[in-house]
């Protein structure tokens, strides 16, 4: 891998994607080319059905890429095995439209799971990091509270903490503000921006929300599976 590839967090060339087989086979991405530099914050907008979520899941290694070139953090994901995709996913932080926190776990335990997966830190260190990041998202006094007892904004902030606690080089987010009111939505995005800046993390964020466009270094628009 060359130094040019490292400077770019994401390099996409000629990426096509189809859903279905045979007669119902339908193309959703057409010859997408995209390059995102490390540390850049990129927003991806577009009407629903434009293929932006598909693009995000391909970059995130949640879906197997079918053809073209898709290089994320120096790993080629086209033709990757299921295990390679799983390993690639460990490098990313995710923030979903719904918070997707585990109901049986407290806020601190939910955040800790992201560290447990790596299995490299001591118990005390994992607890300390989980606590510290929850404090930095303003939930220092909600460590042992389960998601059911948190507000929507608080839950999404726990999700942000979970995505960033492992200090991933890449953060992927799909409409993270969709379930929130404008005030807490903006708060969550600013939090993401601040923490990502501190960690030098690249952010790719899919959104409809025009109120948060100003946080981006660059805004891309996808329409009918084509970047424009």
């Amino acid at each position: 891998m060359g130094t040019g590839a490292m400077a770019s967090a994401i390099v996409i060339e000629g990426l096509n994607h189809h859903f279905g087989r045979g007669a119902v086979r339908r193309q959703v991405l057409f010859d997408v080319a995209l390059e995102v530099a490390a540390g850049e914050i990129v927003l991806l907008t577009g009407p629903s059905g434009s293929g932006k979520t598909t693009l995000l899941t391909l970059i995130g290694g949640l879906r197997a890429a079918q053809g073209g070139r898709l290089r994320v953090l120096g790993r080629e994901l086209v033709g990757a095995t299921a295990l390679q995709l799983t390993l690639a996913r460990r490098e990313h932080g995710y923030i979903f439209q719904a918070h997707n926190l585990h109901r049986s776990l407290t806020a601190a335990q939910n955040v800790r799971m992201a560290l447990e997966m790596r299995g490299t830190l001591s118990d005390a260190e994992m607890d300390r990091r989980a606590r510290r990041i929850l404090e930095s998202v303003g939930l220092g006094d909600h460590l042992d509270v389960k998601p059911d007892q948190l507000s929507g904004g608080q839950k999404q902030r726990v999700a942000v903490a979970r995505a960033l606690v492992g200090e991933p080089p890449l953060l992927l987010a799909d409409e993270p503000t969709a379930a929130l009111d404008s005030h807490s939505g903006r708060e969550v995005v600013l939090l993401m921006q601040r923490l990502a800046r501190e960690q030098g993390c690249t952010i790719l964020l899919v959104t409809h929300d025009s109120r948060i466009l100003d946080i981006a270094d660059r805004t891309l628009s996808l329409e009918d599976g084509r970047l424009c």
Binding site: G60, T86, Y94, F96, H102, E116, M117
Partner: protein, 382 residues
């Protein structure tokens, strides 16, 4: 330490958790009752056999079990004494007969044993101590552990009052009590002298006995003598060591009678009920957490890690369900023992068996439930 996700997940939904534990406890209870009755069956049906005093037992080749022993010539006992190492030979008469229950005055089935009162053929101290009473004509000893309505009879005998009954239109005096206990084959047992026995059953021949008990010289090894006896005696008699004879009786109930099969089937059904209950609980749990599992997959957890969560849950359920599952039968065994006069009690061996079955049950259910984990697709989360 990893976060005990399986445990936290189970504990989160307390209602479902309690239902699961109750279900497993119930399956365990069913298995314990089936296995308990099965063991009681074998135990109670060999209790009298085990009480026989003798190193070698002679029976007819046509014998099926204690209630169907058939007979063989008494002469074989004398012939057995010719074999070196055999120092004593005693014959027993056994019959199953209807007598009149002295309390209800209704007909009831009893097993009558006839033997020489001086010969000390039974390892039952109460019978030995009352051997003199058996020498009185038409006098028998009655089993205190008999099944049926005998409470008043026993109370009267304990007070020393005379009790009489009727067998084959002959008046019989009950001279005393001993404790043996009922079996599946006989509700009650009467001990009689050989003389009384032969008077009770005029058609029984004194020369035809049901069981021969041979005593060997102290320290004499049993197996060579058994082989010598088999060579020496004609084939109208079967020679067994005492242990083999008890095994012979148990085998009848285990294999030839439908009873062993029925309890085995009952245990298998209880096991299946347990699998269904645990599977239901675990698969509902997996379904309820499908989105959360998909999130874990998206974060980079591997399928294997998720399988371990389900296995952890299965093991927790097995262990927690077993606790009430083993305590309830202890109490129910006591109730059943009282109601049936059968020897039913919890044993360490059976508890271990059922615990292993519970683990297998939960792991099997868990294994089936984990197939649903495949459905947790992280691509569906966005």
């Amino acid at each position: 330490m990893r976060t005990p996700l399986g445990w936290l997940q189970l504990r989160h939904d307390r209602g479902r958790f309690l239902v699961a534990i109750a279900g497993i406890a119930f399956a365990d209870l069913l298995m314990f009752m089936q296995l308990g009755f099965q063991a009681a069956l074998y135990d109670s049906n060999t209790r009298l056999d085990r009480a026989f005093r003798g190193d070698v037992v002679l029976i007819s080749p046509k014998a099926l079990n204690l209630q169907n022993l058939s007979t063989f010539p008494r002469r074989r006992l004398l012939q057995a004494l010719d074999v070196p190492g055999v120092v004593d030979a005693q014959g027993l008469y056994i019959r199953t007969v209807n007598w009149r229950n002295p309390q209800t005055l209704r007909s009831a089935t009893v097993q009558v044993l006839g033997f020489d009162p001086d010969a000390d053929v039974l390892r039952l101290p109460e019978v030995q101590a009352q051997a003199d009473r058996l020498k009185l004509p038409d006098t028998v000893l009655f089993d205190r552990g008999a099944r049926g309505r005998y409470g008043e009879v026993i109370a009267r005998l304990d007070r020393g009052e005379p009790v009489t009954s009727e067998i084959e239109r002959r008046t019989i005096a009950v001279g005393g009590l001993f404790r043996l206990g009922a079996s599946f084959g006989a509700d009650a047992t009467l001990m009689a002298s050989d003389q009384t026995f032969l008077r009770m059953f005029p058609r029984a021949k004194a020369g035809s006995i049901s069981i021969g008990l041979l005593t060997l010289a102290p320290g004499e090894p049993v197996a060579p003598v058994v082989r010598a006896l088999r060579r020496h005696l004609p084939d109208d008699v079967q020679v067994l060591s005492h242990a083999d004879y008890v095994q012979f009786e148990e085998n009848y109930w285990r294999v030839a009678s439908p009873v062993g099969f029925i309890f085995g089937l009952g245990t298998a059904m209880a096991f299946v009920v347990g699998v269904v209950i645990v599977y239901q609980v675990l698969s509902t749990d997996v379904n309820a957490h499908l989105q959360e599992y998909a999130t874990f997959k998206a974060m980079g957890f591997r399928q294997r890690w998720l399988l371990l969560v389900v296995v952890e849950q299965a093991l927790i359920l097995a262990a927690l369900g077993f606790i009430p599952g083993v305590l309830m039968p202890v109490w129910l065994y006591a109730v059943a023992a009282k109601a049936t006069s059968l020897p039913i009690a919890m044993t360490l061996g059976r508890a271990t068996t059922v615990f292993v079955l519970t683990l297998v049950m939960c792991l099997a259910s868990g294994a089936i439930a984990t197939r649903r984990l495949q459905a947790a697709d992280p691509a569906e989360l966005f």
